[in-house]
């Protein structure tokens, strides 16, 4: 398979009040016609990588190529080959859905009749035909994301960048978008997807890079990552935090990695599920600990992330806005707005 996206030792430091090494030697390659997932928590460098690849930002060092073209030296050419749908739903609030699509088509210098036809096609494909002539102000969060994605597809890009396409969406809208993305790949488009949702990467991506603090800390297929971690996760719920701490110590020896104690829940990944379960129960029994719940399950990518980085994906490192860049503040605000707009729940659905 030819390579569609190739990134070598990419580096970018943002200078400001505090220096932030957003990209610290990132390398990866994406085969044509596949979905590549760039997985990492907030502030890990995912968006910076996408901004470099989409010619928005210049890297300090390293190279990035899209379909063989250097994104800095051949920026104008690269822009004709790519589509970008961002986490901010970068569409014009004051225009209608159709006007937004036409604007993007015109700015791609497509012939007028093609622009009009594409707008109709895309509104139809994204189930927005009825809302096509309404200003975006009246759209729901899910509709906005669909239109944002439609706008990225107006010029039929060969390589599509999706920067956290479903962050903050309700489960139904997420599912809708996932279906669209799956169809896109069926049509041969290469997709680079960033996400903090492991479920999303698991479902869509055929290969993954896990990124944290500007570095790729793991690469592979979702399956191989789960396999590396261990076959099964043993999850034990305890009546008290004290019991959980003691259980953690007991189970440490059983697992492929150290046991993780999270409140009153202890998790450990093991190779042979049933045998490990029996050994665990015996050990707990002889220590006089009675678990409240006891589960064996398949490891999720969340477990992968936890074992790689020592923290979960959804953890926000700091709540202090002073540490956030304007971009991150904007993202936080947008997520808060989206959370408010939703009838139930917030950004977590796993």
């Amino acid at each position: 398979m030819p390579i569609a996206i190739e990134v070598e030792n990419l580096q970018k430091t943002f200078k400001g009040k505090r220096e932030v090494r957003a990209l610290d030697g990132v390398s990866f390659a994406v085969e044509e016609g596949t979905v590549f997932g760039l997985l990492g928590p907030n502030g890990s460098g995912k968006t910076t990588a996408v901004r470099v690849l989409t010619t928005i930002l210049r890297a300090d060092a390293g190279t990035a190529r899209v379909l063989g073209h250097d994104v800095q030296k051949k920026a104008a050419l690269v822009r004709t080959l790519i589509g970008l749908a961002g986490q901010y739903a970068a569409v014009d609030e004051n225009l209608t859905g159709r006007e937004n699509l036409r604007m993007v088509g015109n700015l791609n210098h497509l012939p007028r009749d093609v622009v009009a036809r594409r707008a109709v096609e895309l509104l139809d494909q994204f189930n927005l035909s009825d809302a096509g002539d309404r200003p975006l102000k009246t759209y729901s969060g899910g509709m906005r994301r669909r239109l944002d994605l439609a706008a990225a597809l107006v010029a039929r890009p060969t390589v599509l960048f999706l920067d956290e396409p479903t962050t903050g969406l309700d489960p139904q809208s997420r599912n809708d978008l996932w279906e669209v993305i799956e169809r896109l790949v069926g049509g041969g488009t290469t997709v680079l997807l960033t996400t903090q949702y492991l479920e999303e990467a698991d479902r869509l991506a055929s290969s993954l890079a896990v990124i944290d603090n500007g570095k790729v800390i793991a690469e592979g297929t979702p399956e191989s990552m789960k396999a590396d971690l261990g076959a099964t996760v043993l999850e034990v719920g305890l009546p008290s935090i004290d019991d959980a701490a003691r259980t953690g110590v007991i189970l440490d020896g059983l697992g492929t990695h150290a046991a993780l104690v999270n409140g009153t829940v202890v998790e450990v990944t093991v190779d042979e599920g049933p045998q490990a379960a029996m050994a665990a129960l015996r050990a707990l029994d002889s220590a006089g600990i009675a678990p409240q719940s006891f589960n064996l399950r398949e490891p999720s990518l969340d477990d992968v992330f936890l074992s790689l980085t020592g923290h979960r994906t959804e953890e926000v490192v700091s709540d202090d806005d002073g540490d956030l860049s304007p971009r991150q503040k904007r993202k936080k605000k947008r997520l808060e707005e989206l959370a408010e707009a939703l009838p139930v729940g917030t950004g977590e659905f796993s």
Binding site: R51, T54, T55, I56, L57, A76, L77, R79, T80, L81, I82, L84, G86, Y88, A89, A90, V91, D92, E93, N94, L95, E99, M103, V104, N106, L107, N108, H109, L110, P111, V114, E121, D124, Q125, F126, N127, P135, A151, L153, A155, R156, P157, T158, F161, D176, E179, V180, R183, L184, G186, G187, G188, T189, P326, R330
Partner: protein, 281 residues
């Protein structure tokens, strides 16, 4: 959603822009964004209010409330007032250039534009061109309002249009200045807050509403020769004759001064705005 596939096809657009198509794209992209910005003006009620109702209120306020207490010897106060109102209106309107750009940055729209194969200069040109067109519309309305409250230009249509032209050029220069403000602000609210301290002293410490002669002497120099005042005086001279300014200067003097200001401001602001746009990440 339908089951249609999304097979990528060879893009229909030409791949590499030559010099000629580069210019053609700059013009067509500027037109696309100008249209988009003008549509926004018609769809944001606040923006429409800001650019039309507010200046009308200023006309009524100065014409009927303050006007009786302001004495102008050379011409009637309403005649004296209207050129000042025109310039004040476009000066306040220039603030919307900064707000609009800050908003586009804040919402991530400029991010999308940067990943499109469009002309790099079109974002700023589209914004300032839309503001120019909006100014033409607003000044037309203000002319009608002026005539309704007794404004009577005395020098004929050509001179009147020349006066409008002077104002529009000055407004265009201001738009580029406020583009810099908008590109420097973290959000649209801050852009607005940053803009008014710049525009207020320029419009009010000026000859726009009252003759400078009644101000304290230390203020008169600034109030007479700052760019808003010379543009008001140029416009007044063209629409009502040089004597209406009450300054003893000729029409040509003020016109040259205003044109010089506009040109200097454009020469300074355009490169700065472009640089700011390029470096803003």
């Amino acid at each position: 959603m339908t089951t249609a596939t999304f097979a990528p096809a060879a893009p229909a657009a030409t791949k590499s822009p030559g010099m000629a198509s580069g210019l053609r794209w700059l013009l067509s992209d500027t037109a696309t964004l100008t249209r988009r910005n003008l549509l926004a003006v018609t769809r944001i009620p606040e923006a429409l209010f800001f650019s039309t109702v507010q200046p009308i209120m200023f006309v009524l306020l100065f014409r009927y409330v303050f006007g009786g207490s302001i004495h102008t010897d050379a011409t009637s106060y309403v005649n004296y007032l209207m050129p000042g109102i025109f310039v004040q209106t476009v000066a306040f309107g220039a603030v919307s250039t900064s707000i609009g750009l800050a908003e586009d940055l804040q919402k991530g729209l400029i991010e999308r534009f940067r990943a499109l194969p469009m002309s790099r200069g079109a974002v700023l040109l589209g914004r300032t061109t839309a503001d120019l067109i909006r100014n033409i519309f607003v000044i037309t309305i203000m002319t009608i309002v002026g005539v309704l409250v007794g404004f009577r230009p005395t020098t004929g249509v050509l001179h009147y249009l020349a006066g409008i032209g002077i104002i529009l050029l000055f407004a265009y220069a201001l738009s580029w200045g406020f583009a810099i403000v908008g590109l420097s602000a973290p959000n649209s609210e801050t852009a607005q807050v940053m803009s008014f301290p710049l525009i207020f002293p320029l419009t009010f410490i000026s000859s726009a509403f009252v003759p400078v002669a009644n101000m304290p002497s230390w203020l008169q120099g600034f109030a007479t020769y700052q760019p808003v005042s010379v543009t008001v005086s140029a416009c007044r001279s063209l629409m009502l004759g040089a004597s209406s300014t009450g300054t003893g200067r000729s029409t040509g003097f003020w016109v040259v001064q205003s044109l010089a200001w506009s040109v200097v401001l454009l020469v300074v602001f355009i490169p700065l705005a472009i640089r700011k746009y390029r470096t803003r990440t």
